[in-house]
């Protein structure tokens, strides 16, 4: 395996790519008891339309998440119990652009890793188990219906995007998941869980070579079909000050503002653009900005306020969200501040301070096993080696941030999603 060192961060990573295309990353953590493995595919809720070996497929909304639940099934076995017997906790999540399976343990690392690889690479679905899962996921969908944090983003995405599938809920709906059958799951598994579309990332005091040989053994007979995922969406950049309002059982109005950005490029260029977007959020309305102080003192925002750049393949948006009695006033203040920054520029000293602060935060994030695993995988799918973040941060130029604000933070690119408290009704 190739060892890369990152002396500024006191880190090293063992990288490799197996002949079948699977990427491996091992981040040693000597002296720690905990060990964590993430086995991740670059297929998420977005990737339900594809051609495989020349045939076109269109799976129902929510299929990636459904698949995530069902991979925990193996004939006659209880995977969670097997992990639990080794003191490991196993879990998984589905996002727009990836599905991750992971465990954390302190003992029995290699048997746990073998089990994780086996579970993800050996699908097993029956009519009966699919039907049962429809009940469980139906409950999860209901739970999301009551979650203002989920609804506010779904409303925003639906308002801002015309074509891009970020407008579809990750879980799908009760209607769409009713269309899922074992065959649909087998097809999506075959298409999305190709070794070349996957990464295995281990954080902890474990032997890279042993991980490599185990991964090679367990993924040897994975199918490698020819797959082209739908990945180009002809999405306009203007969305014209749309607003969405919904009433829910919340205490105070909640808002999420979005500004539509150009989708990021792949590789280093894309990460540079992401950091530009993050720093733009800091400059505009970060905690040390003039605007934050003013809005906070006026009571228009509270400690729940925050924002940054949200990115998914084919889309990116600058968001700001929080609780406020007057979300429109917050939006207008951000737009006005953007005009001000475009006119006056960003003072160099402020810019350096913000970079230093963001850098410190990212370095501290390296103490978290979960955060390191997640970022290594997510950035891998963007074609970037995450541990190189300090040098990219340092290279970001203030004028690029200013230009980003000039282009993006304008009314024509902006949408606002608000969740309002329910009006009192007789019940």
């Amino acid at each position: 395996m190739e060892k890369r060192s990152y002396p500024r961060l006191d880190e090293e990573v063992f990288w490799d790519r197996l002949p079948n295309g699977l990427t491996l990353a091992v981040i040693p953590r000597r002296g720690f008891s905990r060990k964590m493995a993430y086995f991740v595919t670059g297929a998420g809720s977005l990737h339900r339309k594809f051609t495989m070996d020349g045939k076109a497929y269109c799976a129902p909304m929510g299929v990636a998440h459904f698949l995530e639940h069902k991979l925990f099934d193996m004939p006659g076995r209880d995977i969670s119990a097997e992990f639990a017997a080794m003191g490991a906790s196993v879990n998984a999540f589905t996002s727009y652009d990836m599905t991750a399976y992971y465990f954390s343990c302190t003992d029995h690392f290699y048997p746990c890793l073998r089990l994780l690889l086996e579970m993800v690479t050996k699908p097993y679905f029956t009519d009966e188990s699919v039907e049962k899962e429809q009940g469980i996921i139906g409950q999860e969908i209901d739970m999301n219906e009551d979650s203002p944090e989920t609804k506010i983003f779904e409303d925003l995405a639906d308002r801002m995007y015309e074509v891009h599938p970020v407008r579809e809920p990750i879980l799908g709906t009760r209607q769409t998941i009713a269309q899922i059958t074992p065959q649909v799951l087998y097809d999506c598994h075959r298409a999305g869980y190709r070794p070349e579309n996957m990464i295995l990332c281990v954080v902890g005091d474990a032997d890279p070579e042993e991980i490599r040989s185990l991964a090679a053994e367990m993924t040897a007979d994975m199918p490698c079909p020819q797959v082209v995922m739908e990945g180009q969406w002809d999405e306009p950049l203007l969305c014209g000050s749309g607003e969405s309002h919904r009433q829910m059982e919340v205490a105070r109005p909640m808002f999420q503002l979005g500004f539509k950005c150009n989708p990021l490029e792949m590789g280093e260029r894309g990460i540079y653009q992401e950091f530009v977007g993050d720093l733009a959020a800091e400059v505009l309305f970060g905690e040390s900005s003039e605007l934050y102080l003013r809005l906070y003192e006026e009571g228009l925002i509270d400690p729940s306020f925050g924002g940054g750049l949200d990115t998914v393949p084919g889309m990116a948006m600058l968001t700001a969200s929080g609780d406020s009695d007057d979300p429109e006033a917050v939006r207008d203040a951000i737009l006005a501040q953007a005009r001000h920054i475009v006119e006056t520029g960003i003072p160099e000293a402020d810019f350096l301070r913000m970079k230093r602060s963001t850098l410190g935060g990212r370095i501290r994030g390296l103490d978290s096993f979960d955060s390191v695993s997640f970022r290594i995988c997510a950035y891998h799918f963007s074609g970037f080696d995450y541990f190189r973040f300090p040098e990219i941060y340092e290279s970001v130029k203030a004028e690029d941030v200013q230009e980003f604000i000039r282009q993006v933070v304008v009314p024509q690119r902006c949408c606002l999603s608000v969740i309002e408290p329910k009006e009192e009704t007789e019940i």
């Binding site: 119990a81 469980i136 059982e249 900005s289 003192e297 509270d302 400690p303 602060s357 850098l359 410190g360």
Partner: protein, 420 residues
């Protein structure tokens, strides 16, 4: 694992020297008895202190200063541990060796902590009125926002009803009426009293030796006019009577909360076995509740239990179609019955133990979990080191668990219903 140094009577520093981390943590807690009349004031005061000091008079001055310290974060820390409430700060910052050149982080963070505690920005001799009013608004919003997460809301409603006569029934952040009644003058004199009388607990995780940290922190408390008052001991559950409550909200999914009581607490020898029972019963993906009520019967999406050793209360929480609440409740009792009969397989017992051991073993791998384990342990009276805790987990038997399950008695139930 940790070393404790007493800086002054009632001011203790616990240190965990560890060179593996990039993050340091330093927490400071003023410890109070949990009382209805001061809960809101305690919750509010740390937020007001974070609004401005003599040298950093407003929020932006503070943030700019912290940005200079490589984005150190200093946040308000308000905990409830049994009969105690704490208020103070949690600082998380980058280890000095990752700073550029000769930049220092630890020493200025300690200086800033002193500034926060000792030199708040004052107006006419008391806290700034606008800061107090602003943070009152935020605290009210935070209290009301608890309703947004229905699971959290249902669980706090259960506690409120079940513990009407016990400090556990007092909301951690107090009640809205009390928040509204606070003013700058009253809050400032309350703060003076906190500084004078409270026990102060400090906790540090990082690469430096305890003696050095003690020497750095000593000046923070120098010249304080202290009259330390011993805290009353933690008490056992004060039972105000069983109750069943329902509430309606316009939600899709209902939330059921069941509260059980037991004689087993932190202060009895079966605290650790009770944690094992909780894990077998409802603590995670291999528990009886998860495996049966969710996996076998598909009755709900989330279900689990948790055990508060301080008071000997075990709660079960579930989210389901509210028409199914009765069925879920019956099934929960049915699963408890099977624990009482000792129907716990060796695999269930071993999984529960392995899962507890694994999470205990992982505590020293993160600064914040170390802080949480030892800081709350010191307050609750749970004085087991991680090693001792693990040793006790190892010896638990099925017979013990069955006996403990028999000791659990259903006390109160809360149901949040949808409207349709």
């Amino acid at each position: 694992m940790t070393e404790t140094i007493t800086l002054q009577p009632g001011i203790d520093l616990r240190c965990c020297t560890d060179t593996r981390f990039k993050t340091n943590c330093l927490s400071l807690q003023l410890v109070r008895p949990m009382r209805r009349e001061e809960a809101s004031a305690n919750a509010l005061v740390s937020a007001v202190l974070l609004r401005g000091t003599e040298n950093y008079p407003d929020l932006r001055d503070i943030t700019l200063h912290l940005d200079d310290l490589y984005g150190a974060t200093v946040g308000s820390l308000v905990r409830r541990v049994g009969d105690y409430q704490t208020t103070g700060f949690y600082c998380s910052f980058t280890e000095d060796r990752y700073a550029l050149g000769d930049d220092q982080i630890l020493v200025p963070v300690v200086d800033f902590l002193k500034e926060l505690l000792r030199k708040p920005r004052l107006e006419k001799g008391v806290f700034c009125e606008s800061y107090v009013e602003g943070e009152k608004r935020n605290l009210l919003a935070a209290i009301e926002a608890q309703k947004n997460d229905k699971r959290v809301y249902a669980s706090s409603q259960l506690m409120k009803y079940m513990c009407a006569q016990d400090p556990t029934g007092i909301p951690r952040l107090g009640e809205p009426e009390q928040v509204r009644a606070l003013n700058a003058g009253g809050l400032y004199s309350h703060y003076q009293r906190l500084l004078r009388e409270s026990r102060i607990d400090l906790f540090y995780v990082g690469s430096q030796k305890p003696e050095y940290i003690a020497q750095l922190l000593m000046p923070v408390f120098q010249g304080m006019d202290r009259n330390y008052v011993n805290l009353p001991e933690q008490t056992t559950f004060c039972d105000g009577g069983k109750t069943r409550q329902e509430e309606r909200m316009e939600v899709t999914q209902g939330k059921l909360q069941m509260g059980f009581v037991t004689e087993s607490t932190l202060n009895t020898p079966d605290f650790v076995p009770m944690q094992v029972l909780n894990t077998v019963f409802g603590g995670g993906m291999t528990s009886k509740l998860f495996m049966n009520v969710r996996e076998k019967m598909s009755l709900c999406y989330d279900i689990g239990s948790s055990y508060q050793g301080g008071k000997g209360i075990l709660t079960v929480g579930a989210g389901m179609d509210h028409h199914m609440a009765e069925t879920v409740e019956k099934e929960v009792l049915c699963q408890l019955e099977s624990c009482r009969r000792g129907e716990i397989t060796p695999a269930e017992l071993e999984s529960a133990k392995a899962s507890l051991l694994s999470s205990l073993r992982a505590i020293p791998d993160s600064p914040s979990s170390l802080e949480n384990y030892y800081s709350t342990g010191a307050l609750s009276g749970m004085n087991l080191t991680i090693g001792e805790y693990m040793d006790q987990v190892g010896t638990v038997t099925v017979e013990q668990l069955a006996r403990l399950a028999q000791s659990l008695e259903l006390h109160s139930v809360f149901l949040l219903k949808g409207v349709q």
